[in-house]
């Protein structure tokens, strides 16, 4: 499994899709990320990441319903594919393994 093809922002977006599933689309993801990180996140950036992830096969998408505030336009809803789920798991286990190997004193020193 090549790890290098999942960027940091992409990883967060992929996670957000998993969290918000089955109602994940760029606006709610952007809002969610803004809330979690406290930084401005544009839908354009999220949308671009979503597209890349779909291209890589981690996500699949379909068109959802339209709402009045969207001017009657449909939204594109994303769900995580099995491959996407495995990649997330991989990433997580790598991180977990690394975290577990950090000596507690080191963590104390940061805080």
């Amino acid at each position: 499994m090549r790890r290098s093809d999942l960027g940091e922002f992409e990883e967060v977006v992929l996670l957000a899709v998993a969290v918000l599933s089955p109602k994940a689309y760029s606006v709610v993801i952007a809002e969610e990320l803004e809330r979690e990180t406290g930084q401005t996140v544009s839908t354009g950036a999220v949308h671009a990441a979503l597209q890349r992830l779909e291209q890589k096969g981690y996500l699949r998408s379909e068109l959802g319903e339209a709402t009045p505030e969207r001017g009657g336009r449909r939204k594109r809803l994303f769900t995580v594919t099995a491959l996407g789920g495995r990649v997330l798991n991989d990433v997580r286990s790598v991180r977990n393994r690394l975290w577990e190997r950090i000596v507690p004193q080191t963590i104390l020193k940061w805080s």
Partner: protein
């Protein structure tokens, strides 16, 4: 709109995104940013939402949103195969840079020059056609005179227009236009101009022609006799940015005119062009009030002074209108039996003579043909080079065929290849045209512009380019796609006999055209030389002249003053400009004149020293002496004596107008018009009160101080008027400006045609030398001398050029003979002209070919044989 609904986001980011974002993403993208905007507004309020909106929008400006999804369906204009063709073509172009360069240069120059000429042709053909009613407008002309004096006048009498409108039902409207020589000096505040291009006109000018009044009332452009209509440019000259309407121009310090309208500048392709228009009723008032004879506007059928245009009903019979007008004319002036009317369509005025025979149209046709010839030569170059080199590509073609290409696909491939080269050449040609246009305008005297918005320009260019493309692509494509793959791969194909023969025919055509053009250049040049150096019958060197105006009353003093100036060799005066006499009259009587005969003469009043001043020869009799009795004496030119059939003219009676007198002398014929015309009858008479044109002869080296002195004396009597003089030599040259221009252009085009031909020959020669490299090597080893090898290579080409000469000579002779018919005085076509042209063609061909031949002949055979 629903008041509960939140305000929509700003509109124009939407537009930007709609334009930029790929169609398949538009829906979700726009939906997303609108929803985000709505959310932000709820949370942060409208102002903040708007502020952040831009960042949202900008986030979408990345390639992945902009890039269009490839279409699922094949695009017929850009399939993979065509892409492959273009790639192959491009590789071929860059691989054979030498041949590509030759092809490109030939095509570029050919297209550029061909298009330039066609633009000129188109502009000539467009003359007077822009009027919506152009097809129903005719110029009224009349035949006058009998026998050798019979001629067409393009000016008519004034009343015929009124009668035509009233009594001929086919005539819808009539317009008279007459030159204004009586009101010349226009002034507004401190702006003072002498106007030379002003006309009296009927108000019907505006409804009949499409000259657009920008200001003023088209139905009544001249409210009264003191109103004028100016063109836009003229108005700007006087009033700058002020509104010209209602402004007053004072004229000749006597009268004043009020500007009643502004007309858009007359188009450059209009035969009717003026700076200022005055009401023709003013001219009539000046002419017919307080006259001592009984002439009125309604009965003056003897003053031929008006350009008359008739607007006929569609489908009216021209000859019947002319007949009716003649009947009307004769009912008012029964003795004009020699007169008959004719009508010339307005669009023909510029290119045809008054009698409907070919005028300028011949030059237009000639140049049209030259343009086609140049384009043909350029096409031939391409065809020749690409077919000659076709064999080199036989392997490629065969491979394609074996892999499964149909012949039609290969045909397409070579078509695309030619099209690629052509589009490059077209681009370069357009650039070249753009660069050359100012120079070309200067030479051709046109004001062509490369206006890319002009649809006519595109028509001409589109047709030309498509035509040449078709002409030069089809044959090579057919030939190249015809190879039989198995034979070609075994190296068995030798060019078929017919192909070689075809190529030879093309080379012969090219060189025949070149020889025709060279011979044409020689003959035109010689004819121009001839008319400029022909003995005119008078000596015009170093003479300048001008019309004296108020100075005329003080002529004797002025003359005495001028003669005292160093550098003045002589001074005389006459009533007209000797280089180009204008006035004609048929009001002549002599013993032996037949019933109903009319002889038109050019009457010129001259001073007693006029004949010696111009070194004219008196064949018989004597000159005027200045005595009072001279006013009943005449000097005729030989043409007049001959036309009137007077034996021993001196002492015979002659009557001009109401001057009854005797002939005292006969002057040798002299040219007072262009050499296109025969010398016509002219009569000198003596009338000191009519001599308003003064001629001053300088010794030649001190013209400047003489001119300065003359101007001082002019200012003394004509304070307000600018001093305008002309040298007779210059004026004489102007007579032949059109011919001169034709000559220069012809030279230029001929050189270019020859250049392009040589380029093609050069390419072919190079190719032949290349193909025969090894043959030459073997020959050299076996003992052939360099001269023999050059001969071997050049022989074929030279033979073709000689065949071309044989074909070209009769064609050249015939066309130039036709052209010379335009001149009453012309050179004989001598055989050596063709000899020289042929020799030149051979020489040029030899030079072109021998460069390559010598190179090939000098090559070391060891090297050339080692090439494999």
């Amino acid at each position: 709109m629903n008041p509960n609904q939140p305000p929509p986001p700003p509109n124009w980011p939407d537009k930007l995104l709609n334009w930029l974002v790929a169609p398949h993403l538009r829906e979700e993208v726009l939906g997303d940013i609108h929803e985000r905007f709505a959310l932000r507004m709820q949370r942060l309020g409208e102002r903040r939402a708007r502020q952040t909106y831009w960042r949202e929008v900008l986030a979408y400006l990345r390639p992945q949103f902009i890039k269009r999804r490839p279409s699922e369906y094949a695009k017929p204009l850009f399939t993979d195969m065509i892409r492959n063709y273009i790639k192959t073509a491009w590789r071929n172009l860059t691989k054979n840079q030498f041949y590509s360069l030759i092809n490109m240069t030939g095509l570029t120059v050919g297209l550029a020059v061909g298009l330039l000429i066609l633009l000129w042709v188109q502009s000539e053909l467009s003359f007077d056609r822009f009027h919506r009613q152009a097809d129903s407008i005719y110029r009224l002309e009349n035949w006058a005179g009998t026998g050798s004096s019979r001629q067409i006048w393009t000016v008519t009498v004034a009343p015929i227009a009124d009668y035509a409108k009233k009594q001929v039902p086919e005539v819808n409207d009539a317009v008279r236009i007459s030159y204004n020589g009586s009101y010349t000096l226009f002034r507004y505040k401190d702006k003072l101009f002498k106007e030379d291009n002003t006309f009296f006109t009927d108000p019907s000018l505006f409804p009949v022609f499409d000259f657009q009044l920008i200001q003023g009332n088209p139905a009544a452009p001249f409210p009264d006799n003191s109103s004028v209509v100016l063109t836009e440019t003229t108005a700007k000259r006087y009033f700058g940015d002020e509104n010209p309407l209602g402004k007053t121009l004072s004229v000749d310090d006597k009268t004043s005119f009020k500007v009643s309208g502004v007309v858009r500048d007359f188009p450059k392709n209009s035969s009717i062009r003026a700076d200022i228009l005055l009401p023709i009723s003013l001219m009539f008032k000046d002419r017919y009030t307080n006259r001592d004879d009984d002439k009125t506007l309604a009965n003056d059928f003897s003053q031929f002074n008006y350009n008359t245009y008739l607007l006929l009903q569609p489908g009216a019979s021209i000859s019947s209108v002319a007949e009716k007008l003649r009947a009307i004319h004769l009912s008012h002036k029964p003795d004009d039996t020699d007169l008959s009317y004719l009508l010339q369509p307005l669009p023909d005025m510029h290119l045809y003579r008054a009698d409907g025979t070919n005028g300028g149209i011949e030059t237009v046709r000639m140049f049209g043909i030259i343009a086609l010839l140049i384009l043909t030569i350029a096409c031939i170059n391409y065809v020749n080079l690409s077919t000659a080199r076709a064999m080199l590509r036989s392997k490629e073609v065969s491979m394609r065929k074996i892999v499964g290409a149909a012949r039609s696909q290969l045909f397409m491939q070579f078509l695309v290849e030619t099209a690629l080269l052509f589009s490059l050449a077209t681009l370069l040609a357009l650039g070249l045209i753009y660069l050359l246009l100012p120079v070309y305008n200067q030479i051709s005297g046109k004001e062509l512009v490369l206006n890319l918005l002009d649809s006519q320009l595109w028509q001409v260019m589109g047709l030309t380019i498509l035509g040449t493309l078709a002409a030069s692509s089809i044959y090579p494509a057919l030939l190249l796609s015809s190879f039989e793959p198995l034979k070609a791969l075994r190296g068995k194909i030798s060019a078929r006999l017919s192909d070689v023969a075809f190529r030879k025919v093309l080379v012969v055509t090219q060189f025949a055209v070149s020889v025709i053009l060279i011979a044409g250049t020689f003959i035109i040049g010689k004819q121009l030389q001839y008319i400029r150096s022909k003995e005119l019958g008078y000596d015009k060197t170093h003479v300048f002249a001008f019309f004296m105006r108020d100075m005329g009353k003080h002529y004797e003093a002025v003359k005495a003053d001028l003669l005292n100036q160093p550098g003045v060799a002589g001074v005389t005066r006459a009533s007209a400009n000797i280089v180009q006499l204008g006035e004609q009259t048929g009001d002549t009587q002599w013993d032996g004149k037949e019933q109903g005969e009319t002889m038109f003469v050019y009457p010129v009043a001259i001073d007693k020293d006029f004949v010696p001043f111009f070194r004219m020869k008196l064949q018989q009799g004597a000159n005027f002496t200045g005595a009072v009795a001279d006013s009943t004496r005449f000097i005729l030119n030989e043409a007049a004596v001959k036309a009137a059939r007077i034996q021993n003219p001196v002492g015979k009676r002659f009557k001009l107008w109401d001057r009854d007198g005797t002939i005292v002398g006969v002057v040798k014929d002299f040219h007072f018009a262009s050499m296109r015309q025969k010398i016509e009858p002219a009569v000198f008479y003596y009338a000191p009160d009519r001599l308003n044109a003064i001629y001053v002869k300088t010794t030649g080296n001190e013209a400047e101080p003489v001119l300065a002195a003359t101007e001082r004396s002019w200012k003394q009597y004509n304070a307000n008027y600018p001093f305008e003089y002309f040298f007779l030599d210059k004026l004489f040259d102007n007579l032949y400006r059109v011919e001169q221009r034709t000559g220069t252009l012809f030279n230029l085009f001929a050189s270019i045609a020859i250049l392009i031909s040589c380029l093609g020959l050069f390419g072919l020669a190079t190719f032949t030398a290349q193909v025969r490299t090894r043959e030459i090597g073997v020959r050299k080893i076996l003992g052939a001398s360099i001269a023999e090898i050059i001969q071997l290579l050049a022989k074929d080409f030279i033979r073709l050029v000689i065949i071309a000469i044989v074909i070209a000579v009769p064609i050249a002779w015939y066309t130039m003979h036709q052209w010379l018919q335009n001149f009453a005085y012309k050179i004989d076509i001598e055989w050596w002209v063709f000899g020289l042209a042929g020799l030149l063609a051979v020489g040029i061909a030899l030079l072109t070919v021998s460069f390559q031949s010598i190179k090939a002949a000098l090559m070391n055979p060891v090297k050339s044989l080692r090439t494999e």
